[in-house]
């Protein structure tokens, strides 16, 4: 079935079977392989994308749901060479090792900070309930999200000024 939606700010139409998962649509049909698939139980969060700005698991979302809606993936965050402040923070705070979980972590973190601009450490850890990392032990991910939240606040203040 044809499905028209906005993907990273651009209108797109995909013609795929209605049973297509959004994670497969992105990876196999849109050549956007930044969205990772790490489990088949909807638990790991490597596949998290933003649907109308809200974090959702693309491995547990059917493509027809996208019709008329707006989807943002990890590829849609940077402006040209300039990383999104949350991506930049994961880089500077060493918020990743192998990087497999990172796209989902960054998308979840952006949604968290949009709802809660100054999250406490406990709120960040609670917000990461659905994102599993096998490498880092989470410490630097939490630090990265704290730094990313501050940078996002600073960039909106700068934009408003």
């Amino acid at each position: 079935m044809p499905i028209s939606f906005t993907l990273n700010g651009r209108s797109r139409t995909a013609d795929v079977p209605s049973s297509t998962l959004v994670s497969d649509l992105l990876r196999d049909h849109m050549n956007l392989t930044g969205t990772h698939v790490g489990c088949d139980t909807s638990q790991c969060g490597a596949c998290v994308v933003l649907l109308d700005g809200e974090a959702v698991k693309s491995c547990t979302l059917l493509a027809p749901v996208l019709a008329g809606r707006s989807l943002t993936t990890i590829e849609g965050l940077a402006k040209g060479e300039k990383l999104h402040p949350m991506q930049e923070a994961f880089h500077t705070q060493h918020g990743l090792q192998c990087g497999f979980c990172t796209p989902g972590m960054v998308m979840t973190a952006i949604d968290l900070v949009n709802h809660n601009p100054v999250p406490t450490e406990a709120e960040i850890r609670e917000g990461l309930e659905g994102n599993i990392c096998r490498c880092t032990g989470y410490q630097n991910i939490v630090k990265a999200i704290q730094a990313g939240a501050a940078a996002m606040a600073a960039s909106t203040t700068a934009a408003a000024a």
Partner: protein, 265 residues
């Protein structure tokens, strides 16, 4: 996953008509339970009826007696609702404890109740609060709705459209979260209602149940100490890879005491 036809009805009668006429069809709401089931090929319907377009089913409204919540209200909507936080704060906290943020952005109260997972959270709230499940054709008291493991009183082409919750005098919920799924290993919801103390337990094994032992003890004294040391018989609990029956029976009293403390906080 086997391919399926996908229907997006715009009204409840259309959705019900499709369920009745399209063979092997299943409703889908948030898909947070149904899609993992399809991915594992534990079910393979030939058609899905997407409920997302049904009008008015996302609402959360105040009634003189409490709250009316639409079947499509997502866990995140209930968790963030000022109205729920004011009228039944324990219900808002329960919704905020389901799964993780991404699950709460898709999963719905109607889907959770229809699924009746033996470790799900909402069934405990519905049963303890004496909720009524509203369908396209009737209202079913929670006492008659949950029929054990994944079984409910719903007919094959019957849809949940909403849930009405009488507001309690006070209520509380506590669960031990499974560290991987966040489902309840054991969860206990206590409520002081117009019809006395009601206590419902999820995670015991065979679906949500009321716990008369806790209800009687709390009717005498609504305090954590009244239930903290009251041990239920392990025979009524299941053993599985997550917990043994004796441990679950022990957890029941611990969670009941915490739920009472939550209600008093």
């Amino acid at each position: 996953m086997r391919d399926f036809a996908y229907h997006q009805p715009a009204t409840v009668p259309d959705a019900v008509a499709l369920l009745g006429s399209v063979s092997e069809s299943r409703p889908i709401a948030g898909g947070m339970t149904l899609l993992p089931t399809l991915k594992n090929r534990l079910a393979s319907p030939s058609a899905l009826i997407d409920l997302a377009g049904l009008p008015g089913l996302q609402s959360i409204e105040e009634r003189s007696f409490g709250l009316a919540i639409g079947a499509l209200a997502r866990h995140a909507d209930v968790a963030r609702s000022r109205l729920v936080a004011t009228r039944i704060p324990a219900l808002a906290r329960l919704a905020g404890s389901i799964g993780d943020p991404a699950v709460r952005h898709r999963g719905t109260i109607g889907g959770s109740l229809a699924n009746n997972d033996p470790a799900a959270d909402y069934p405990a709230a519905a049963l303890a609060l004496g909720a009524r499940i509203v369908t396209n054709r009737r209202e079913i008291p929670a006492d008659d709705f949950f029929l054990g493991l994944f079984e409910t009183a719903l007919g094959p082409d019957e849809l949940i459209t909403g849930v009405v919750f009488p507001a309690p005098k006070r209520a509380g919920y506590a669960k031990l979260r499974n560290p991987a799924s966040r489902y309840a290993v054991v969860g206990v919801f206590v409520a002081e209602t117009a019809n006395g103390i009601r206590v419902a337990m999820t995670g015991a094994g065979n679906g949500v149940v009321r716990v008369p032992e806790f209800e009687q003890a709390l009717a005498t004294s609504f305090a954590p100490e009244a239930v903290a040391h009251l041990r239920l018989a392990p025979d009524d609990f299941a053993s599985d890879m997550h917990a043994e029956a004796a441990y679950r029976a022990h957890l029941a009293s611990v969670m009941a005491a915490r739920a009472v403390a939550d209600a008093l906080a």
